[in-house]
């Protein structure tokens, strides 16, 4: 219900630019994720939007209203923004209904309407009949649903979600993601969702903004972010991207370019203006496959195999660059550790801005750390 517009938003604390020149347009009624490693400034950005923190530069608008600007800002209570907290932030001295209709009492909504709105909100989040319950007796998932209902009942034009699933176990996260979707559909409010978990962001958001060290690195749809990361940081952060130096052999033709990788030639996707010479390719483990015997491919030794259930994650060391291991994911049989195999690259993306950056050499360790 509100178009959110950030222009050159900057927040400086202790001499550090925690949020650095962020410009972002968030469409009315969309769900925007802010994704990034911890300490990247995403939570600070959220608190700037809520009004708990004051910005040092730039401007935040909701529709045509300026809500924050250096030195002048609208108080949080005047922004009509809802927030779902990591700690749920339910008031322990009030029951479920007391929590949900708090905002309505503040606005002096009539009793009958309060009641119907509470019931409606609890219905939507899947807790019908919970109005009289004590908050202390609810499970973590139920508490987060009450927090959602509280948000829903106040009919905010913008809802901020601050790592709302971080305190829940893996199984509950799945069902809560569905609850968030239902919530989004019912409220129609613009949603901004802060998380460090790319799977959550991809499952919920229309668009994802990847942040690192206070700056926006890329704002795109989940699909584009995965297929065409704009730089090395995004490529590594999303979907175990592995960066390798490649030699561009010919000018691009309809978004594809011929490259050479460890002596093996293949076609990768790229931007239209891709030049020749050396470039950096982003390869996903799923796009690398073990070739049949006698087929062309990169010669490599199998280093180790990790069983992942439906598939296996295989680390290989190319014969021509044994210090730069590669990860591939396969569902088929895998030869024994130490065996010589040939692998093919079926898909990949030439990073548009990363030509000057050194390729990542510790892809496996990163992948492990990310899990």
């Amino acid at each position: 219900m509100a178009h959110v517009s950030l222009r050159n938003v900057t927040r400086i604390a202790a001499g550090r630019r925690i949020v650095d020149d962020v410009s972002l347009e968030i469409a009315d009624g969309s769900c925007q994720a802010l994704l990034g490693p911890s300490g990247c400034g995403k939570t600070t950005l959220l608190r700037l939007l809520a009004g708990f923190d004051a910005l040092d530069g730039g401007e935040i608008r909701f529709d045509d209203d300026v809500v924050a600007r250096p030195g002048r800002q609208l108080e949080p209570e005047d922004r009509r923004v809802g927030m779902v907290f990591q700690s749920y932030a339910l008031w322990p001295h009030l029951d479920v209904a007391g929590n949900v209709d708090y905002a309505l009492r503040v606005r002096k909504v009539a009793r009958a309407e309060r009641r119907s709105r509470v019931e409606e909100a609890l219905e939507i989040v899947g807790l019908p009949g919970f109005a009289e319950r004590k908050v202390q007796n609810l499970s973590g998932g139920q508490r987060q649903r009450v927090a959602l209902a509280r948000c829903l009942a106040m009919r905010p034009r913008l809802v901020l979600l601050d790592e709302p699933l971080a305190n829940l176990d893996a199984h509950l996260r799945e069902t809560m993601i569905d609850a968030f979707r239902a919530f989004h559909a019912a409220s129609g409010a613009t949603m901004i969702y802060v998380t460090h978990d790319q799977a959550e962001a991809m499952a919920l958001a229309d668009r994802i903004a990847v942040m690192d060290q206070g700056r926006l690195r890329q704002v795109d749809t989940p699909v584009r972010l995965y297929d065409a990361p704009c730089d090395a940081m995004v490529a590594r952060f999303i979907g175990q991207g592995q960066l390798l130096p490649v030699e561009v052999l010919a000018p691009p033709v309809s978004g594809q370019v011929r490259v050479r990788l460890y002596g093996y030639e293949t076609d990768l996707r790229c931007e239209a203006g891709q030049g020749g010479g050396t470039a950096t390719a982003c390869l996903r483990p799923d796009a690398i496959a073990i070739a049949g015997t006698g087929d062309a491919g990169i010669a490599a030794h199998i280093r180790d195999v990790r069983f992942e259930g439906a598939s296996q994650l295989v680390r290989i060391a190319p014969v021509s660059a044994p210090q730069t291991p590669l990860l591939l994911r396969t569902r088929g049989p895998v030869p024994a550790v130490g065996a010589l195999v040939h692998v093919t690259v079926d898909d990949g993306w030439i990073l548009p801005h990363a030509a000057q950056e050194a390729p990542e050499t510790v892809a496996f360790e990163r992948a492990q750390a990310a899990e």
Partner: protein, 577 residues
Amino acid sequence: MSVAQRDHPGALRRRFPDMGAETLILSALGLYVVVLCIWPLARLLATVFADGAAEGIAFIAEVWSGRAARRATWNTLEASFLATIVSVLLGAATALIVALTDLRYKVLLVFLLLLPLLIPPQISALAWLAMIGPQSPLWLIPGLEAVRPDRNPLLGRDGIVLVMGLEHAPMVFLAVRAALRSLPADLIDAARAAGSRPMGALLRVILPLMLPAMTAGAALAFVSAIGNFGVPALLGIPGRYPMLSTLIYQRLSGFGPGALPEVASLALILAGMAVIGIAAQTLILRRHAAAVDRVGATHGGFALGRWFWPVTLAVWALMLLIAVMPLVSLAASALVPSVGMRLTWQTLTFDNLIYVVTGLGSAQRAFVNSLFLAGTAAVITVCVCAPLAWLMVARRSRVAQWLNVAADAPYVLPGIVLSIAVILVLLPPLPILGISLYNTIWILLFAYLARFLALALRPVVAAMAQIDRAGEEAAQMAGARPFHRLRTIILPLLAPALGAGAILVFLGAFSELTVSALLWSRGSETVGVVIFSLYDEGNSTAAAAVSVWVLAIILGLALAVSTLGRRLPEGVLPWRM
């Protein structure tokens, strides 16, 4: 969406921060703290240094060069130092036993140990006098009849050292127990794994790590000792062992307001000693805080094994002697018809207990006054604490944090210093009203409000810090303004701590003597003053009877607050296990 817009009309047009309510609360609190806590102490300094720093120092030196002042200063240092040794030995030993052994009934043990926090010093002194004195039932025990003293041996230095040492042992106990609780069990286990027996681990690992806490607790006990008035007044004045607090009292009550410049100088000497002690404690704690690594579980305690019964017997015998016996003796001395009589079935009478509340005018007035003063001080203080703690913790107001520091001053400085400072500001007529509060009950209320603000503020701030900040932010998101949030979210969550704070203030103010001794006047007696006066007049029986009533009220309230304690956040009540 039209409904939503109707909910909150035109809110977005307001673009300037809505600071009105907060600024208003903060200004009112600032005025309150400045008037109560800063003004009197500033006036005290100004009185001595009115003609400049050099003249002020020269004046203090002149006052100090008097024989009585020098002797009182020396006695204060001597008795406080010795009392601190008693406090450290008792406090640290009991803390180690409670925290590190499998002794049973620790809750009762801790309650008895911390009893001196509840019992005012003059009542402790009276109880010990009753226990050791020639009439004590102690000497009825076969074999002890022979050593029965003719004169009370507690009058004088040794008695002061003993009673003050016991009175302030809880401070060392609490400091050491807190440190032991944050001591990771791994450190002790590692020492055991390296081959140390429990005693070796205690000597080589635990005690060295406890040293900062012990020193900090000792500094606190020392500061309390030099500021103590009740014990030196009851044991030192008749025992001809003057200390600074009693000297100030005697000079001012003997010579009247004319002695104010002189006693102000003496008060500054006393305050200076306290400030050195507090600075030492703060410094030690600050350095210690960096060193402690708060990870891992705390130690479950060593099994005493074959030492279980000897240790149990020794600990409980000691508790019987220092906590139970004095109070029993005090009660016994209130139940005989007159001073000097032995308590037997024939002499047992409740006449004194009935007389002090029905026939003795000063005691009756004192009970009414003290109940009124303590109750009013408790209510007002709590009303101030809630918004102050909120601004300080939740709103992170710098000003509120400064006010919190300022509120500490009248509490940690010796009470006699505060009462001199309060006299200095309230003796002259008030600016606009043109009347003087001196010689009225209101000067007592003023002093109590200043003295006990910190006592309630500490637990309320501790509770406030444990409230999830997001709870208030959620209310802000719901559109609630500061006053509304304070009322609907903060106050309900803070209520148990506020109740506890109110009771702590009530307990402190109800039997207060140190501050009241110089501020009371005829008609505005307090129970602390009446106990002291009755004792001073030689009517120990009536003094004991009033004390028994006071103890009953205090212990009843302590019990009530402990029951409430189960619902309190951690760190609010000192005596909770």
